[in-house]
């Protein structure tokens, strides 16, 4: 019987996906309620739905980070770590499956909200915007806008991945200490974020630059896109380093 790595990864992925059912449901139900709200409600009330959608967007971006703590710490608190650590697979696969779930959460949640927002726009709000370039035509006619949006989305995704890797790394570092694990986790998380910020500032792709880019969205699009991508790349590299560190410590140093 072939026990391919893919099969094992899939099992881990599905198992971890189930563990974050609550967080997924929050977003799904939230979006469903808001969508029902503006589809069934009156024309006047439709614009009120924008705020909840924005809030849900924030939630969809934040919940995966919260899930990242839940996914690891629960293994220890429920003792399922005995099962997981005994499996004949590397720490990279264990953490990789969890990361895949977190990314699924983020992408799924943000896409869902984007779809709902577009639906809201098309059904109720089109009258408020310029009739010359309705809907998706706006994007087709302006490729740079599309690229900018994609670069923006990608950087958000990579930044989330970076935050989750920091979370994994911090929690695993925390587990090295039997008595002060909470403290070590918190400290590692904060220190890693600060250090990362400093490193990227030194490289010129840090948060300062990012902020300036974001408020200059109407400016030079090409510049904006390339800067976003540079930022994404930097955070991606950092995320990978933290992931590898976490996996190595898990494999070599963690004990039950």
């Amino acid at each position: 019987m072939s026990n391919s790595k893919l099969k094992m990864f899939t099992k881990l992925y599905l198992k971890d996906l189930h563990e974050v059912t609550a967080e997924i449901l929050i977003v799904v139900i939230g979006v469903a309620l808001v969508t029902a709200g503006f589809l069934l409600g009156s024309e006047q009330n439709a614009p009120l739905m924008i705020l909840p959608l924005v809030l849900l967007l924030g939630l969809a971006g934040l919940l995966p980070l919260i899930s990242s703590f839940k996914l690891l710490s629960r293994e220890w608190s429920q003792n399922t770590v005995y099962l997981v650590m005994s499996l004949p697979v590397s720490g990279a696969m264990i953490l990789g499956a969890k990361m895949a779930v977190l990314l699924t959460q983020y992408i799924g949640g943000t896409l869902l909200i984007t779809l709902s927002s577009y639906l809201l726009y098309v059904t109720k709000l089109s009258q408020y915007l310029t009739p010359q370039q309705p809907g998706l035509m706006m994007l087709y006619n302006n490729p740079q806008l599309l690229q900018s949006l994609l670069a923006f989305y990608l950087s958000g995704l990579v930044f989330l991945a970076f935050l989750c890797c920091t979370s994994f790394f911090s929690q695993i570092a925390g587990k090295l200490s039997a008595r002060f694990s909470g403290l070590v986790t918190a400290a590692t998380f904060v220190i890693t974020l600060i250090l990362s910020g400093k490193i990227l500032d030194a490289l010129g792709t840090g948060s300062n630059e990012l902020y300036h880019m974001m408020i200059q969205i109407s400016g030079d699009a090409a510049n904006y896109i390339s800067n976003m991508n540079m930022s994404s790349l930097s955070y991606f590299v950092l995320a990978v380093i933290l992931f590898i560190l976490a996996a190595v410590i898990y494999d070599r140093k963690l004990e039950l």
Binding site: N79, V81, L83
Partner: protein, 232 residues
């Protein structure tokens, strides 16, 4: 063969294992006995690759334990399965990770132990959960079976079922079963070899039958003797 070579392990101020040296030969049912806190669980987790020695080394068939995880089926004392799993989901999970999973054995033992696949791990009784854990562990044809207190807190009838499952499926010559327990009484007739461990050291070891013949005592009585001597 499992080999401990002058293994030391310390947790804070407690020396859990102290220059521990022993060999678990193949094809036998081995009893690892000792009072609570003697170091039995620590030793078992070390074989399963869940912790590492501070000094000395542990080898499983000449390899490090963490490289041998596919040969070892470890049954910890605590509840280590996901509560929302059904038995079927748990079996499906194990099947995907272990090449030595035997579906025929699984189905057969499912009936023998009176379990149903739709049982939810978190909702069943302690005895049924113990049987589920055993089922999942024994359905693998793993060369090394490590059972950490498999009978503690289990009612008598379930204990018998568990012991009979072990007897029924034991592959003499091919499989090694290591049982750690402080209730020696339950497994007197089950073990080939015994290792009495106290404060991280072996105080008595040998073949169960030979010990009975030479000392004229049951294993329970031999342990009492051994610990009385140590305390002096």
């Amino acid at each position: 063969m499992i080999e401990f070579d002058h293994v030391g392990k310390r947790f804070g101020s407690v020396q859990a294992l102290d220059q521990l040296s022993l060999q678990f030969g193949p094809g036998k049912i081995i009893g690892l006995f000792g009072p609570n806190g003697a170091g039995k669980s620590t030793a078992m987790k070390m074989i399963a690759g869940l912790n590492q020695p501070d000094s000395g080394h542990v080898l499983v068939d000449g390899q490090k334990p963490r490289q041998s995880r596919d040969k070892i089926a470890f049954l910890p004392e605590i509840d280590y399965l996901y509560g929302w799993w059904t038995l079927k989901q748990a079996a499906d999970f194990m099947r995907s990770f272990y090449a030595d999973w035997d579906d025929n054995k699984y189905t057969e033992l499912l009936g023998f132990l009176n379990l149903r696949e739709d049982m939810k791990i978190g909702k069943i009784s302690k005895g049924q959960r113990a049987k589920c854990k055993l089922l999942l562990t024994v359905s693998r044809r793993a060369p090394y079976l490590l059972l950490d207190e498999p009978l503690s807190g289990i009612d008598i009838l379930t204990r018998e079922e568990i012991i009979n499952t072990l007897i029924r499926d034991f592959r003499e010559g091919e499989q090694t079963i290591i049982i750690s327990t402080h209730e020696i009484n339950d497994v007197e007739s089950l073990v080939d070899e015994v290792f009495f461990i106290d404060q991280g050291r072996i105080v008595v070891s040998g073949s169960a039958e030979e010990l009975r013949i030479t000392q004229g005592l049951s294993l329970v009585e031999i342990m009492k003797e051994a610990f009385r001597n140590v305390q002096q």
